[in-house]
Symmetry: C2
Subunit: 452 residues, 2 copies
């Protein structure tokens, strides 16, 4: 289909595209749509029926939505945004320039605007912000037949009907049941008899990552969101949870690579890094590089301080890069093991000390192995046993300390409530470089002192 469409676009044969699209299922179009260029998407989108257009629009990433919106007239844009599900709309509005978002919100229908504003009132990256308010709620005293009837009537436009929520007259959450349970239940039973009473729920201020993890761990299709008074105010569905989990993992990867999160929203960083202009890319990439440049100069200071040693035994310089490099490599391993361990729940912070001791042991054992190898090479290569010994000892200490820092620095940053992954890398690198150089030069001074 996609080849055909692209061919017709080149030939400007819009009639043929229109007939292909009107015969296609939404899924097919969506599949093809993702592979088109931004310009082709705008052309194809205009040729969709109104209904198709809304369905496709809802499924697109916010950056693609934004691209399409820009190509529309104001009325068309407002019409589309008005028909989006509230949570999808909030996500889109969040990422649009403030002026555009304001204009669009003002133009929404009163009910849609009210719903959007309620959602926008919650803090970013919380359950309140990502939830949808379009769910079906039942009451305890309904019969299964009555409930089925209500579900049938209200199904249209709801995000999911597979998880149903039971509330009292004050909208307090009393239980959940799945459509499967409803479908299989005795038609004359009451909802109270078939529902699950002790419901897992989150509150509007629960962090979105925690919400997503709960859905993942418990294999739920939707989770209820309650406000401070335990009233049911929305639900978060599994499709949003997946996007969040993938986004959060991507965030961690970027943080680890020293890419600053200046965009203040998740999908933003990938987008900026690849399609942004030079200025925006600089804002993401430069902070870490400038920080490491300034801190890296400190290692120059250490070398400068040991200039005499270096002058006396010029071979010392040969092993500076490999000692610093190996410290960096094991430090990256350690901090990755620690931060992923915490994210995946394999490491509990209350057991930090136990994991920390083990990591020091691992660093020491690897350090000894690598130190013996490096020391042997140094001895044989330059035919200087004392330099070999200094290289070996420096390697053991550097790798042990780097492993230790790989656990300790992110732990302290977590305890200080800072963004652990983002700050760890430059701190670990700098500390281990300084320690490595100082230990190395001190070893050289002590062991090769007679040559100075």
């Amino acid at each position: 289909m996609i080849d055909l469409i692209q061919q017709h676009i080149q030939n400007k044969d819009m009639g043929s595209i229109k007939s292909i699209l009107s015969a296609a299922e939404e899924m097919e179009i969506l599949f093809a749509f993702n592979d088109l260029t931004a310009e082709e998407q705008v052309i194809v989108f205009r040729l969709l029926t109104k209904n198709q257009a809304l369905l496709i629009f809802e499924e697109l990433d916010t950056d693609l939505q934004h691209n399409l919106l820009r190509s529309f007239t104001d009325e068309r844009a407002i019409e589309l945004v008005n028909e989006l599900a509230p949570d999808d709309r909030v996500r889109l509005l969040d990422e649009l320039p403030a002026g555009v978002a304001k204009k669009l919100i003002a133009a929404l229908s009163p009910e849609e605007r009210a719903m959007t504003n309620v959602l926008m009132g919650y803090k970013a990256e919380t359950a309140g912000r990502i939830m949808t308010t379009e769910f079906i709620s039942l009451t305890k005293n309904m019969t299964v037949t009555q409930a089925s009837e209500k579900v049938r009537k209200q199904a249209e436009g709801k995000e999911t009907i597979y998880t149903l929520f039971v509330t009292d007259t004050a909208k307090k959450l009393e239980g959940v049941l799945t459509l499967k349970e409803l479908f299989l239940a005795d038609p004359n039973a009451t909802i109270e008899e078939v529902m699950t009473k002790h419901t897992i729920y989150v509150t509007t201020d629960t962090d979105q990552e925690e919400v997503a993890k709960t859905l993942q761990e418990l294999d739920l299709l939707a989770i209820p969101v309650v406000d401070m008074e335990a009233r049911l105010v929305g639900i978060v569905t599994i499709d949003d949870a997946i996007d969040i989990l993938v986004e959060e993992a991507t965030e961690d990867i970027y943080d680890q690579a020293g890419l600053a999160d200046v965009t203040d929203n998740e999908s933003g960083r990938s987008e900026v890094l690849i399609h942004g202009n030079l200025w925006k890319i600089w804002k993401v990439r430069l902070p870490y590089l400038l920080a490491t440049l300034a801190l890296g100069m400190l290692s120059g200071l250490v070398i400068d301080g040991f200039e005499e040693t270096l002058e006396a035994v010029i071979g010392v310089a040969v092993f500076i890069p490999v000692i610093m490099g190996m410290g960096g490599n094991i430090g990256t391993q350690s901090s990755t093991v620690f931060t992923r361990g915490v994210v995946l729940g394999h490491i509990q912070l209350k057991n930090f000390f136990r994991h920390f001791l083990k990591e020091i042991g691992i660093g020491l054992s690897i350090g000894v192995l690598v130190g013996v190898l490096a020391g042997t090479v140094a001895t044989v290569w330059l035919n200087m046993p004392m330099l070999g010994l200094a290289v070996g000892i420096a390697m053991v200490f550097t790798m042990t300390i780097a492993a230790l820092l790989g656990f300790l620095v992110p732990y302290i940053l977590i305890k200080l409530n800072a963004d652990q992954a983002a700050g760890s890398a430059p701190i670990i690198t700098t500390l281990k470089d300084l320690v490595a150089l100082i230990i190395y030069f001190v070893c050289v001074s002590l062991l090769l002192g007679h040559m100075l």
Copy 2:
């Protein structure tokens, strides 16, 4: 609940635990269970009713399942494994030691064994391996009422009833419909009238990551898996897709940090890195460290080769670490931007050249900025303008080349069908270190030649 249980365990008051557990909902137990230690889990698990035990067991990670299985008698283990859903069972058997797995498979009921063996025949990390064979299939000529009746009868024990599959007499996939569509349809309509005909499906040999991404992108709850003859043989559900996506992201993070995947299954690496014994941890962490040690010695060779230069101008050594370090930092950024861009679909390989040119431009622009800063510092610090110039020029070249390599190396590895992330780091590091040192020393030789 968890504090209470842990207290009772300490007091060896099993009766109280049993009564807490029998009153609790499965969800609550599962929630608490994850926070218990391995020993506590074994104790609590034995106190669960048979039904509770199965439900909890199904939801646990394979490493926790394995831990529990080891603590059981053979009969109890066989009984549990026999009642697991086929795909969960395959995943567990996959990770057990071969001897244990074989014994368990032999002890399965004939039907369960057949199903397990079919699944085990597919290659690891393919749709065939992760699919469940427990789905509901309908035929086109059924009425909605007849179909609903069939769903009701077969719902028990099926992984999902929310996506229903329509097949012909040869089991060829003809369409899908959701329970929502069935629930809302006219009872007298035929399935052919209400089903979606053009179905998105995967084949048994589709890579599991692609399966998961398709479910994510299209917001599906389940996707059909067909064999080479287009017969429906299984389905993959959204809960498995989430686990796969999180696992794959974790894999990428580990690869990037130089942690080798020697365990040959995904959940394994996190587990081994934190709970494994020293020998197993060494197998994951040492390969990269030994490779970078050997390759890192090459940079020593370069320094050794320029010993005369170094001896003449000892200040040269001061800036070796910062030049190599900055190259490493921007190289990590670039390779992360590239590999994540490919994974998330922001970078299409066919447009590689365009992205590559842009990245070189970014590397150059950042290199010039950092080079000017570093060169100025070097000039002022050591009061040697020519050394400052050499540092600046070396910095520009090093950072540009490191950025270039960050895109080029993983691209070539992908094209060679190698594991791009795992191999990139040591190759990029080594190349950029060698190039950085050579450029730096050549600049120094040229600009400070009069001092030699």
